[in-house]
Each structure stands twice: as C-alpha cells, then as structure tokens.
Amino acid sequence: MTESLERPRVARSAFSRSVLGRLLRHRSGSLGLVLTAFFIVLAVIGPWVAPYGPATPDYTLLAAGSSSSHWLGTDAFGRDTFSRLLAGARYSVTIGLSATLIGALAGGIWGVLAGFLGGWFDNVSMRLVDVLLAFPGILIAIGLVTITGPGVGPVVFASAVFGVPVFARLARGSTLEVKTRAFIEAANALGMRRLGVMARHVVPQVVAPVLVYATLRSGSTLLVASGLSFLGLGVQAPAPEWGAMLSDAQLWLAVQPLMAFAPGVTITLAVLGFNLLGDGLRDVLDPSIRV
C-alpha cells in the first residue's frame, strides 16, 4: 500500500495486475488458468516434445496397453498414443481457441454495429440472429462443415459461426446499455463524430463482457469442434485431432480401452480448464453475466 502511494502506477497496468491477482486467489479460477496455460503451451511445443512421431507406426505393438516405452499404449496402427495426444494439441486446442476468438470478434463487431447504428440494420440483424438461434448450435456447425467439406479450416469456420449469433446478441445488448450513459451524450454534445464515439467510447465498454463470455464459451466451442471430428465430419483420420482419435478408438474399445480413454480424458481436462477459467474470470470481472 505504502509503495503505491510513493510511486503511482499507470492505471491500466494496476488494473490488469489486480485481475490476474484476483484470478489467482480464486480457487477454481486459478486451477482453470493453470490448466488452460498448460494446454496452450502444449499446443505450441507438443509436437517437439513427443517421444515418437504422431504418424510413426510400430507394427510389432498394435493396440497395446500402457508400458514403459508407450506410456499411454498404442493405437490400431501401433502409433504411440501419448505422442499423438501431444501433437494433437496443436489441432484441438488451436481450433477451439481460434474458433472462439473469430466467433467473438465477428459476432462482437456485428452486435456493436447493430446496437450503435440501430434502425433497419439493427432490425434485420436481430431477425437474422433469431433465425440462427432457432437452430440448436451444433446443427449449424454440422451443416456448415458438411457444405465446406472436412479439414481444419472448415472446422474452425463452422465452430466460429456456432458462436456468432450469441456474441452478436451479447455485444448489441452491452452497446445499447452503454449508449444511454452520460459520457456518450457528452461526446456527442462535444461534436465528436459518430464513428469516433463508437470506436473510442462504446467499443472499450463492450470488450470486457465479450471477452469474459468468450472465455466461458471456449469450452463448449472445443466440445463442438472435437464433436465434429468425432462424427467424421471435421478433421480427418491420420491427423491426431483428439475427437478423431476417440472416434477411431471406438471400434477397439473391447480390445484396448486405453486407446479411447486417453484422448477422452485429455479433451475433458482441456474443456474443464477453459470452463473453470471462464467461471473465475466472470466472478472476478463481471459477476452480472449469467450463462
């Protein structure tokens, strides 16, 4: 306390420091932060630290259980499951996170524009959002990925669109709320241009709730993305995407359950990390967002 009195810090840095500090004191939030950080690091370094190549077969050891040379056993082609999981983080975690971010960004921009501009644009936008929300989310993702065909890009796209209407509605709501505040009126009265008001005064207020919701949402986006690959519509077989691995392992369940359990537990842990971090962030930043 005395320190901050002597040497005043820049407001922003103190703010972000306190968010991180409060998050670390939040019991489950800190666990989520650790798990999420772990999986993000894994997505970066995973393929390099893997003991075997993700596609390297060992035909003498097919569908093997846990051993000292293969900690999590091997799959039907004798490929090391542990190595595949490590290499697969680059697919699953990256897809889940980028899809969430793209969805939040696209939906956020759409929502702010709709809320700020109002009028016919707002009307048409919200009717469209209603139509999109009339479908269960996963149905939209399944539909889009069937149209585009399988692959990493299409899964990111489909899982991103899965979030767009929700983020648009959230951002629009926040924008409408901000619009009524006095400082917007002041900015208008000072003769600031509309676009300037939006960029300088509205957007910064909307970023926080959208970001919190994006963190909350990243878990379910990862679930949808890996679900698409599990259904055989997303990332295809040789790639070590976790959902695809689980799908392959299904046939071998009676022979080697570890082949399914390992990717299953990994997806669950990653989603758990995102969810805990999202809950923690919401508690710390904005307890009013209810999901």
């Binding site: 009339a134 479908f135 299953g264």
Partner: protein
C-alpha cells in the same frame, strides 16, 4: 397472458420464414449430386436424368422452393430419397424414440440437478458443496461422446449388465439417457445452487430467520419456491439443448432417433429428409422457448407481460 402468447406467436412468424429459407438453401448447398448418387455410380446419363426428374431436381431453384413451400402449407414434407416413404412418416417413425430419450434425460437432469443444487446451497462452502460443484463442472466439461463410450465400456463390455443400444427396450434407453442427462444435470445443479443462494440473501428471508424460524423451515417455506422459478427457464432451455445433443449421443449408441437420422440423411444427401429434420429441430426449439416464457409468468405472478 393470452395477448402475450399471441404476440409471441406473431413474432415467431418471421423467424420461421427465415428458418424455412435457410433450410432450403442449406440443403441445396450440400456438395454432391443426389441424382447421380441414387442412380448408381455406373448409371448412364439417361437414368441419372430420370432420377433427377423423379426427385424434382431438374426444375429451377425458385420452382423447387415454391414446391417446397406449397408442400409445407399442406403439411407435406415431400418424399424421402433414401427411404421409400414420405418424410412425415419417416420423421414420425423416429420422433418417438428421440422424444422418449430426451424426456427421460430431462427428468433425470432436473430431479437430480435441483436436488444436488439445493443440497450444495444449504451446506455452502462445505465439503459436500465443493464435491457437488466440482462434479457439476466436470459433468459440463465431459464430451457426451466420451461419456457414452465410457459407459458402454463399463456397463456393456465389462459388466455386461446393459445393452449397448437399441430403442427396443427400456434397458436400451438407460445408457443413452444418462449420457445425455449428465451435462444438463451439471448446468441445472449449478443454476439451482446459485439461485437459492441469491434468494437466501433477500430481506424477506432474513426476516423469516429473524422471527425465529429454523433454517430448514426458512429455506423450505420461504426461499425454495422463489429460488426455483428461474430454474424453470434453464430446464426448458436444457430440454432444447438435449434434443440437439441427441445428434451425437444417438450416433455413439447407434440409437435410431432423429439425431441419428439427421446424420444418415445428410450423408445420403436425402434433401427432403434433411429439410424435414432441420425444420423439426428448429420448431422444437422455437416452441420450447415460447412455452418457457409463457410458463414463467404462470409460475411467477410478479411478472407481468404488458
């Protein structure tokens, strides 16, 4: 109340129109040519053309759309390309299975979820509370396709007490229903917990405590009823969520309901069936949201609609 219901129904009309347009164009954007697919790989062009005509795909898009809408107004969803029957009877054949599955899952999720949520809130910050909240978030985080495989392994492969799948028997429903219920159970438990905790913080609950009522009486008589009102919303939303969750769960268990049929029909480029299925899914969603909103006012007299 009636006026509100009518207004909501009118509001749903443009959404429905959008849904119908979207479905029609979505189906036609699917890659692949159904006529070629159904005529067989080595069929001559004349046969392919005949199949195309039989499916009505030789007509222009506006014509096809007009035909689709005209059919809809008569309650006719067309004829399935894949199964030799009308889409309505195809849907009817699989609808019951999914409805039973989703209903059982909703009942499990609601009863257990509310019970667990209330228990956790009553013993806030205790070991029981921590266990329930942890289990809830774990349930929400577990992919249904993994949970399904896990349950199949435990109960069908190892213990051999329950069949893997089949909508034939009550036993065959157990594993898919539990799989489907778990994520919603977690959500409902968390929601019920926080709702009860919020209600307990209200002044009138403090008054009840202040006049000397026991804690359990305060909660049962005063807090619980109000705390459960918002839970109705979440249960309704979860029912819709469960219906869509059937797509993955039914595939895991090879359970022949609407979700399973959707994946089959998309793969087979069965345009009329996909159209019908997506329409049913969207309709269910719209109707559930409407019912939940109206019900909310019935349960909670504090809410007025005008």
């Amino acid at each position: 109340m009636l006026r509100y219901t009518i207004r909501r129904l009118i509001q749903a009309v443009p959404t429905l129109v959008g849904v119908v347009v979207l479905i029609f164009f979505f189906v036609r954007a699917l890659p692949g040519d159904p006529a070629r697919l159904y005529a067989g790989t080595d069929a001559d062009p004349a046969t392919v053309e005949a199949v195309r005509q039989q499916f009505g795909l030789d007509r222009s898009l506006p014509e096809q759309f007009a035909y689709f809408v005209a059919g809809l107004s008569r309650g006719d969803l067309g004829r399935s390309f894949r199964a030799n029957m009308s889409v309505t009877s195809l849907l009817a054949r699989h609808f019951r299975a999914t409805l039973v599955l989703a209903s059982i899952a909703t009942v499990i999720a609601t009863l257990l979820g509310v019970l667990l949520g209330i228990t956790a809130a009553r013993r806030r910050n205790s070991f029981i509370d921590l266990s329930i909240t942890s289990a809830s978030v774990l349930g929400i985080s577990t992919p249904s396709f993994f949970l399904g495989i896990l349950l199949i392994y435990l109960f069908a492969v190892k213990l051999r007490v329950l069949p893997v799948a089949g909508n034939v028997s009550l036993k065959g429903l157990v594993l898919p229903a539990v799989t489907l219920a778990v994520a919603s159970l977690g959500t409902i438990a968390r929601f019920a917990r926080s709702s009860l905790l919020e209600t307990i913080a209200n002044d009138y609950v403090r008054t009840a405590s202040a006049k000397g009522l026991s804690r359990s009486r305060v909660i049962n008589k005063h807090a619980l009823r109000n705390a459960l009102i918002p839970v109705v919303t979440i249960v309704g939303l979860q029912f819709g969520f469960l219906l869509s969750g059937t797509v993955i769960v039914e595939t895991v268990f090879n359970f022949h309901g609407l979700g399973w049929l959707l994946i089959q029909s998309v793969e087979a480029r069965d345009y009329p069936a996909v159209q019908g299925l997506m329409l049913v899914f969207a309709l269910q969603f719209i109707v559930i949201n409407l019912v939940v909103d109206v019900l909310y006012g019935v349960i909670d007299p504090r809410i007025s609609y005008d």
